[in-house]
């Protein structure tokens, strides 16, 4: 995922903003890392450039 699209991303549960923790990126995008929701204290993984933003099974609010 590209950093510039971070601002239109939101936590699927509380709809709050997400904090990007990039672990590996190329010139275009973040390939591995995580998106952290401070309100829900939940981390959504980014794998091979794709964020997994499925809601956690147990709601985290």
């Amino acid at each position: 995922m590209r950093r510039q699209l971070l601002e239109i991303l939101a936590c699927p549960v509380c709809k709050g903003g997400l904090e990007l923790k990039a672990e590996e990126e190329d010139e275009h995008e973040v390939l591995e890392g995580a998106l952290f929701c401070g309100r829900c204290r939940h981390e959504y993984r980014i794998t091979e450039g794709i964020p997994d933003l499925l809601p956690p099974l147990r709601r985290c609010q």
Partner: protein, 278 residues
């Protein structure tokens, strides 16, 4: 829980389709097993040869009821969200329409589909499109952040359709447009079809009655809601679709249900707008 069980069935079914590149069956007669047939379905759904030639053939799995009307209305620079983006066919066509200043985001709950969609974008060298793993009932998208929502024959698969429309309304910018196509029912289905999980994952038994669909969109807050196109949905598509090729479903649809079922299904293209003062 019934809803979770159905959701898992949908994810499993479409995950398998993604992994087999849409060639579902091999020995099962009548189902879409090749590129030509998928192209044929797409043409009947209104996609132009120019659209089809613009992308690698394997992006088009012959799924869905088609959403070319929505694609045609996209403007350069717009941000577009595709609910249930599957292998990425509509997203890639939308990305060409909105150009380098625009963005397209596809959300799908099936990991295999999302990874394939990303591969297809790389293959087509389209860079203004991104895919996220997510649920359309719980969109991972900020409030008032997109110009257009598109969706092609997916909302019928959602367990809570009202919540999908409320989420769509939330993420659209004021003035934003909802341009979706889906399967609807013109009359209630026979009991034997309503209870079938296969018919659900094949877009039939999860479909809403047409008026209920329109009312649910309005209830979510949309205005100027109108059906811009309605076409009878041929059962041939349904029983030929890889997602409904199980022997049980075919028997239900062809032997037990055909009399009433074919006349009960239509595909619609629906428009709605989020007012600027929303």
């Amino acid at each position: 829980m019934q809803g979770e069980r159905l959701k898992k069935s949908v994810r499993d079914r479409y995950g398998r389709i993604a992994q087999t590149e849409g060639s579902c069956c091999g020995s099962t007669p009548g189902c879409y097993s090749g590129i030509d047939q998928a192209r044929d379905v797409a043409r009947k759904n209104g996609y132009s040869d120019e659209d089809l030639n613009a992308l690698p053939d394997r992006v088009n799995l012959g799924l869905g009821c088609g959403n070319p009307v929505a694609l045609a209305s996209l403007r350069e620079g717009e941000t577009v969200l595709d609910l249930g983006s599957g292998p990425g066919f509509d997203c890639l066509l939308a990305a060409r329409r909105v150009g380098a200043r625009g963005h397209v985001i596809g959300v799908d709950m099936t990991p295999e589909m999302v990874f394939r969609a990303r591969e297809h974008a790389e293959e087509a060298e389209i860079t203004n499109v991104e895919f996220r793993l997510g649920e359309i009932e719980h969109l991972p998208v900020a409030d008032s952040s997109v110009d257009v929502i598109i969706s092609n024959c997916v909302i019928n698969l959602a367990i809570d359709k009202g919540q999908v429309f409320r989420e769509a309304f939330r993420v659209l910018k004021p003035g934003g447009r909802l341009l979706i196509s889906d399967i609807v029912l013109l009359s209630p289905l026979p009991e034997c079809v309503r209870g079938s999980v296969d018919a659900y994952t094949g877009c039939i038994s999860g479909a809403m009655l047409k008026q209920d669909f329109v009312d649910a969109v309005k209830k979510a807050g949309f205005q100027h809601v109108e059906i811009r196109k309605e076409v009878p949905f041929s059962l041939e598509y349904v029983i030929s679709d890889p997602s409904t090729s199980s022997p049980v479903t075919r028997r239900i649809l062809t032997e037990d249900g055909i009399g009433g079922t074919e006349k009960s299904i239509a595909s619609i293209h629906l428009f709605g707008r989020k007012e600027t003062n929303s």
